[in-house]
């Protein structure tokens, strides 16, 4: 069993309620922070912990906090990004659904450190019942003196407000989220100015992911240095992984980032192996936008070393032979899955979610979907693969926000590693409608652990 810092108490009956959470030691860390620690000391612990943003980008959280401007007389805001929308990712939902008070405790400590008197949780609109759970927890926390005016007699006022979005992946991008929180379309802003200087209502703002803010609780509880001892290298602490696709045990797992990808997929403690005794074909290890890897490159790096579930190891080899930790959305594909079809559904997703501001993304995502649809329906031509490659290359890096990159990468990686499957579809138009390319990519038998 690995270390559990976030989900340790997830299975305690009634942990969703204030009474049980408190009885299990909840809010003791907030008490320590507000009564015994200076603001600088809290920020210092978070910096020392090496905590990296858990939303996908992996930016050091302590550093992000230290950028916040503090102009005299201007309110500052902390915004919790709960717009979890990256396909394959459902860890924040789990955390909020089962441990709402852990998030609120993290929000309280973080709001105190940043000087945010009004903190917002921007939650994706579809998680309507989760929003209700959070609202209930806020009422309980307020009733018990953890939110409101002059908390613990420390002079600090803090209120947490839930704000429901309405169905737009783009609002997970922090400046689009801010626009949406201001009651507008979720069009990302041009940076600079960064939110830390001019964010919500042009006030200094920090936007952090749900898991990042929840992790502040164990960090303050155990100290940044102790937290940093868990894990390996710059992958400190624990990470929530939401595993899905063709595995025996889909679900949310907390890992300490020293486990190998192979153990994560095949051990009974985690994914429990490929469903139906089938073979592993490919995996998208960090949410739909990160590069898909074929089984051989997933389990071992190009150098033949074991690949581990952490930031550095998953990205070993760059995009040529590696991928990314991303949001921790771990999507497993078995031997029966078609890479063309899978890529098509992702291309459709990004076309649907493009906000339309930048031409390369607005037009390019639509073209990619149409070309992939054409290949999938057995009408592809040999020039289509190069055309797809050309389009994705012209989207990447040419847009205001990273949605363009997120749309380009899955297509690029699918062609990079599975070009023969695309060619097979194009050269076997009829056959591709009734059968599957399977595992023909591999000249050598695929590595399947006993």
């Amino acid at each position: 069993m690995g270390v559990k810092l976030l989900l340790e108490k997830a299975n305690v009956p009634g942990i969703r309620t204030y009474d049980v959470y408190r009885r299990e030691g909840g809010y003791a860390t907030a008490e320590k922070a507000l009564k015994e620690m200076s603001i600088e000391a809290i920020v210092e612990e978070v910096k020392k912990s090496g905590l990296r943003g858990r939303g996908g980008a992996g930016f050091p959280a302590g550093m992000k906090w230290s950028f916040i401007a503090k102009p005299e007389g201007v309110p500052r805001h902390l915004v919790c990004n709960a717009d979890e929308s990256e396909p394959g990712t459902f860890k924040d939902r789990y955390l909020m659904e089962f441990l709402p008070h852990l998030l609120i405790e993290g929000l309280l400590i973080s709001s105190y450190a940043l000087g945010s008197n009004d903190t917002y949780i921007y939650i994706r609109g579809e998680y309507a019942w989760v929003a209700d759970i959070l609202e209930e927890a806020i009422v309980e926390a307020t009733k018990n003196g953890w939110l409101g005016k002059n908390i613990l007699g420390n002079g600090f006022d803090c209120m947490v407000h839930v704000h429901r979005g309405a169905g737009a992946y783009i609002c997970g991008e922090e400046t689009a989220l801010i626009e949406s929180l201001e009651g507008k379309r979720g069009n990302p802003r041009i940076k600079p100015p960064f939110p830390a200087i001019q964010g919500l209502w042009m006030r200094p703002t920090v936007v952090n992911n749900v898991e990042t803010l929840a992790a502040v609780v164990p960090i303050i509880k155990m100290g940044g240095e102790e937290y940093a001892k868990i894990g390996v290298g710059r992958s400190t602490g624990t990470k929530l992984i939401s595993a899905c696709g063709n595995i025996n045990k889909p679900g949310v797992y907390e890992i300490d980032m020293t486990i190998s990808v192979e153990d994560f997929i095949y051990s009974d403690e985690y994914c429990g192996g490929i469903a139906g005794g089938k073979k592993l074909k490919a995996c998208i290890p960090g949410g739909s936008s990160v590069p898909i890897l074929p089984a051989n490159l997933l389990l071992k790096t190009a150098k033949g070393e074991t690949r581990y579930m952490n930031y550095e190891s998953l990205s070993d080899g760059g995009f040529a032979t590696g991928s990314m930790m991303g949001s921790g959305g771990f999507i497993v594909l078995d031997e029966d899955q078609c890479i063309v079809k899978n890529t098509l559904t992702l291309a459709r997703f990004y076309r649907h979610e493009s906000c339309g501001q930048c031409s390369p993304c607005r037009e390019g995502t639509g073209w990619m979907e149409k070309i992939l649809q054409k290949i999938e329906l057995g009408k592809g031509e040999s020039s289509d693969i190069d055309l797809l490659w050309d389009i994705q290359r012209k989207i990447e890096g040419n847009t205001i926000c990273p949605l363009g990159d997120a749309a380009a990468w899955p297509v690029a990686a699918a062609i990079r590693h599975f070009r023969d499957e695309f060619e097979w579809h194009i050269n076997n138009r009829e056959l591709s409608q009734t059968s599957n390319f399977g595992l023909q990519h591999y000249a050598d038998p695929i590595h399947v652990p006993a």
């Binding site: 579809e126 309405a166 169905g167 201001e182 899905c244 889909p250």
Partner: protein
């Protein structure tokens, strides 16, 4: 204006607006549009959007551009129960195609259509964050997960019963 919040809805409106600083009431637009949609039959006619604009003291165009941007706002009438079935990658590899085909057959409608009795609308949506519990659909506030053909039948029967019980 005939569309108006009743007292209960109006107090919810006030609660939502109070979350934002004075003069920033436009920030309440998304939550208020959810409230309007829930209050006025599951969709947002122009009249409802104009009413929201007047309540928040903003221009109607500011409401239209938001209502047309976000996928959860219905701009056309929908059935009493909207089946929003996820079709993105993780659900697809877990068999959502078969579930979508089965719902179409059982309800005799295509995606985007409503049954003749006005009971059900089928809508195909992109990832709802339930990838580990696929295939799935959202109906109102609730997620229906681990869908099978048998489960779809049971869900349809359950909603039909609900309406019978109400009448």
């Amino acid at each position: 204006m005939s569309l108006q919040f009743n007292n209960e809805q109006m107090s919810e409106f006030k609660r939502l607006v109070a979350r934002y600083p004075e003069g920033k009431q436009k920030s309440a637009l998304l939550p208020v549009l959810h409230l309007a949609q829930d209050s006025f039959g599951g969709w947002l006619p122009t009249e409802a959007m104009d009413y929201v604009a007047s309540l928040l003291e903003i221009e109607p165009i500011e409401v239209y551009e938001v209502a047309t941007f976000y996928s959860m706002y219905n701009l056309k009438p929908v059935g009493k129960f909207v089946f929003e079935v996820c079709q993105t990658g993780p659900c697809m590899v877990s068999g959502s195609d078969n579930i979508i085909a089965y719902i179409q057959k059982q309800l005799d409608i295509k995606p985007g259509e409503t049954t003749k009795d006005g009971m059900f609308t089928l809508k195909l949506v992109e990832c709802l964050g339930a990838c580990g519990y696929a295939p799935m659909m959202q109906v109102g506030k609730i997620y229906r997960e681990h869908l099978t053909k048998e489960k779809v039948d049971a869900i349809i029967a359950e909603y039909r019963m609900q309406v019978v019980a109400q009448n």
